[in-house]
């Protein structure tokens, strides 16, 4: 019975690739961080509905990117001023795809973009080609920065 349960657990984990998946936050920050998807699943989630170009709508659930970055010591709020404003992050996918966001875009006092690190769509885990984690940028008119198969976020400071 134990073996059966173990096999079921392994099969369930493999089916969406969730067990081994991680999000690495690295770069020029004080506390580089590796978060397992299970840890992200435990963080407070928000939901956004995204209208697709073809007329369908998808409802994504996830953790605000800003909260994850704060956890790694990325400067926001009163710390995001002066040279820190010349900083950006690179969000990188498993397939090599990369996009950039400035910290000012994400901070509540500036762009206040509510970008999510999503782990569910329409209440279910993301498919392999999307996840297990992806960015969702509700205010972007095009979807190209909503990086699928998100693996790494790297902070780059242009001025120190």
């Amino acid at each position: 019975m134990t073996n059966f349960l173990l096999r079921c657990t392994l099969l369930a984990a493999l089916s969406f690739g969730t067990s081994a998946a991680e999000l690495t936050i690295k770069g020029d920050i004080a506390a580089p961080l590796v978060l397992k998807t299970e840890e992200i699943a435990q963080m407070p989630h928000e939901t956004v509905s995204i209208p697709e170009k073809d007329g369908t709508t998808a409802s994504y659930e996830g953790v605000p990117l800003r909260e994850i970055l704060k956890k790694a010591g990325v400067p926001f709020g009163k710390d995001l001023r002066g040279k820190a404003l010349a900083s950006y992050i690179i969000a990188k996918a498993k397939d090599g795809y990369e996009v950039v966001f400035s910290l000012g875009e994400l901070d509540a006092a500036f762009g206040n973009e509510s970008i999510l690190v999503a782990d569910k769509v329409d209440g279910k885990p993301l498919f392999d080609y999307q996840g297990p984690l992806r960015l969702v940028c509700p205010n972007d008119k095009a979807g190209a920065r909503s990086v699928r198969m998100l693996e790494t976020i790297e902070l780059v400071r242009l001025q120190k």
């Binding site: 170009k53 007329g55 369908t56 397939d95 090599g96 498919f127 080609y129 999307q130 699928r148």
Partner: protein, 327 residues
């Protein structure tokens, strides 16, 4: 339950797209009704609707081939070849534009006139004074069908009504019952193989970027529904040898049964299509920058083809609602 009630229920079901797909856009002057769609089906399969009395819409749009014809390029009733291959009619209700590269052809009612009356090339080879338009007025099958489809028309037997009925039938040909649909919308993990799942990841990956032209629920670049706004169509030069012009990216649903491939039918298999795109195509000043080439291992290629095969909807290929009513 009487036979008539069952038939009406079946027709109503045909008018409703699968729950997971959005409602298709329908022109305001041609609402979709079961009666018009049924009349359209009879017209679609009627070989009297051609200059040689042997061809119909269904000659180039065969149900078992996802409404394509299996030929590199289509052939008209007089034996003249069309310069391009017959396009699939599956999910054509969601197409924001029709034909391979004409940005002006956006309505099925308008497009139907081209195979009916077009001369360059001749397809069905009809003329406004063709005998067929007289036949329908007295034909025992058509008379009640036209009268039921267009009850408020004093004279329902018009060319305009013929194109409206055919368009209605075509809009009912919805494909949403493939293994991929069951996997994606019903979350049936067993619906497609692990190989196909890996193929899906490759399809949507940055290096291959197949999804950038074949995206959305219809795996096409010109999909729209009742809830979406029309967009400027995109056309692509796919880097085929001696290719001129740019073409739309058609749906990949049922692609495994629609060989040969590309607008000119020049690639006989999916294997050859993947080789073409992996090679980056032939040099051509108009070639789309998205055709840049990529590396694909034999296993990757197998997986990608498995994914494409998972888009085959056997139900739409054999659904009696879309079959020849004259048999």
């Amino acid at each position: 339950m009487s036979c008539r009630i069952i038939i009406v229920l079946c027709l109503l079901v045909r008018l409703c797209p699968a729950a997971q797909l959005p409602k298709p856009r329908v022109p305001a002057d041609n609402p979709l009704t079961p009666a018009k769609a049924e009349l359209g089906r009879y017209l679609f399969y009627d070989t009297r609707m051609s200059v040689n009395g042997k061809q119909s819409c269904a000659t180039c749009h065969r149900q078992e081939l996802a409404f394509t014809d299996g030929r590199p390029v289509a052939m008209g009733a007089t034996g003249q070849n069309h310069p391009r291959g017959a396009m699939s009619l599956v999910n054509v209700a969601y197409n924001s534009l029709l034909t391979w590269n004409n940005p002006q052809t956006r309505e099925l009612e308008q497009q139907a006139l081209v195979p009916m009356f077009g001369e360059h090339p001749i397809e069905l080879g009809l003329r406004p004074d063709s005998q067929f338009f007289t036949i329908i007025r007295s034909d025992a099958t058509y008379k009640p069908l036209f009268e039921k489809a267009f009850p408020s028309n004093a004279d329902p037997f018009t060319i305009s009504n013929i194109t409206k009925a055919i368009a209605c039938f075509e809009r009912t040909i919805i494909s949403a019952r493939s293994p991929w649909d069951r996997y994606h919308y019903n979350r049936d993990e067993t619906a497609i193989s692990e190989s196909a799942k890996h193929g899906e990841v490759l399809f949507f990956s940055q290096p291959l970027s197949c999804f950038r032209c074949h995206g959305g629920f219809n795996f096409s670049d010109n999909t729209m529904s009742a809830n979406s706004q029309p967009e400027e169509p995109e056309f692509h030069n796919t880097g085929l040898k001696n290719q001129q012009g740019k073409f739309k990216a058609p749906t990949l649903r049922n692609i495994a049964v629609t060989a040969p491939y590309m607008h000119d039918g020049s690639l006989p298999t999916l294997d050859a299509v993947l080789d073409h795109y992996a090679s980056g195509g032939h040099n051509n000043p108009d070639k789309d920058p998205l055709i840049h080439g990529f590396n694909l291992t034999p296993d990757d290629k197998k997986d990608l083809i498995e994914f494409l095969k998972a888009l085959t909807d056997e139900a739409v290929l054999h659904d009696p609602s879309f079959a020849n009513p004259w048999h």
